[in-house]
């Protein structure tokens, strides 16, 4: 936007077009050129100006400079020009008033937005604080106490109570060299975050059930600050579906042996201890199961045999040959 445009408009006295100019979206800010100089500057050379007006402007410039004073002959023309300038003055005043009004409206709006955003920020920070308090409390009380403090305000109370009834903690001993934060519990999980907490050098990983959003169970896994070989998993909620490997595990549960995995179950998980114990040692169980299957009948071989049998029974030539052989055997034996 050129300042000459603005100046032209100011002379053009088009109030609407000026308003359009200041309300136009993405309009660059006006240049910081100040309006200094004579009245002659106001008149752009491109704008159509009457000869009479030009003379007047020249005259006024001379008057301002104090160089000369010529008598004005056409008083009527001067009066007309004065009227025109007065009306221009009036319109400029109106424009200024409107602009001031717009400015104050915009300023109020901006202040409203600023206060809203600050409120939102405060609420968010309070939420984050409450959440971190909850997690730190859960980690401190590893040996079973999952009680949450309920001294917070009412809005934070309800979700905490909900979690209080369904949260459970499981500690699993793993190889200290294994840096992955994976606790195999028979369910499938999707990792959606990881963060480093203040009270523990090892990061905390966040998982949600692979059946989400229909199943809202979440899990947080972190190495114990005291013993890095222990993985602490905190479960929130209960699965509303069967574990994918549950049937398989229940079949082989009588044969499974806990090979050194130290398992400790707290709070609500304790009631279902046998199931959870089996879940937690799933790798061991699978190993045991597969070794048993290797001794008795390897699943691959069994599968191949079944495939072969089914394909042969579908073959009519084979059926005929088999029938002939059997009947031949029968005839031989009778003879």
């Amino acid at each position: 936007m050129d300042s000459s445009y603005f100046l032209d408009k100011s002379l053009d006295l088009n109030l609407n077009s000026f308003s359009h100019m200041i309300n136009e979206d993405h309009a660059p800010p006006p240049p910081k050129r100040e309006f200094v100089g004579d009245f002659a500057l106001v008149n752009d050379e491109k704008a159509p100006v009457k000869e009479e007006k030009r003379e007047l402007v020249r005259y006024l410039a001379q008057v301002n400079d104090g160089k000369a004073q010529e008598p004005v002959k056409e008083e009527a023309g001067l009066a007309g020009e004065l009227d025109r300038m007065s009306s221009e003055n009036k319109k400029l005043t109106e424009m200024l008033a409107q602009l001031c009004e717009n400015y104050s409206t915009l300023q109020t709006h901006l202040m409203d937005l600023a206060s809203k955003s600050s409120k939102k920020e405060a609420i968010n920070s309070r939420k984050r604080k409450a959440e971190s308090d909850y997690y730190s409390q859960n980690l401190i009380g590893i040996d079973g106490n999952t009680e949450c403090s309920s001294s917070d305000e009412e809005p934070c109370k309800r979700p905490k109570e909900n979690i209080k009834t369904k949260a459970s903690r499981v500690c699993v001993r793993t190889d200290a060299s294994d840096k992955s934060l994976t606790v195999k519990d028979g369910y499938q999980w999707r990792k959606y975050g990881q963060k480093v907490t203040r009270d523990n050098p090892s990061p905390r990983a966040y998982f949600k059930c692979s059946f989400a959003p229909s199943c809202l169970v979440k899990k947080k896994v972190q190495r114990s600050a005291d013993d890095p070989s222990i993985l602490v998993a905190i479960y929130e909620g209960e699965h509303n579906h069967m574990s994918p490997s549950q049937a398989e595990i229940s079949l082989g549960s009588s044969q499974c042996v806990n090979h050194g995995s130290s398992i400790h179950i707290s709070s609500s998980m304790r009631s279902s201890a046998p199931t959870v114990t089996l879940d937690l040692i799933q790798p061991v169980l699978c190993r045991a199961k597969s070794s048993i299957q290797e001794v008795e009948s390897p699943p691959l071989q069994q599968f191949l045999v079944q495939q072969m049998a089914s394909s042969l029974t579908r073959d009519p030539n084979f059926t005929a040959a088999l029938a002939a052989a059997i009947s031949g055997r029968i005839i031989d034996s009778t003879n």
């Binding site: 800010p29 009066a79 200024l96 717009n102 709006h109 901006l110 937005l113």
Partner: protein, 39 residues
Amino acid sequence: EESGALVEEMNRVSAENKKLTEMLTVMCENYNALRSQLT
């Protein structure tokens, strides 16, 4: 004399116009700056 008074009045009005124009320029700058904060 009358024309002298007219000229004087015109000078006054012209100066006033100039002032108003300057004020409008400044207000425009302020307004646009404020609006750019919003966007």
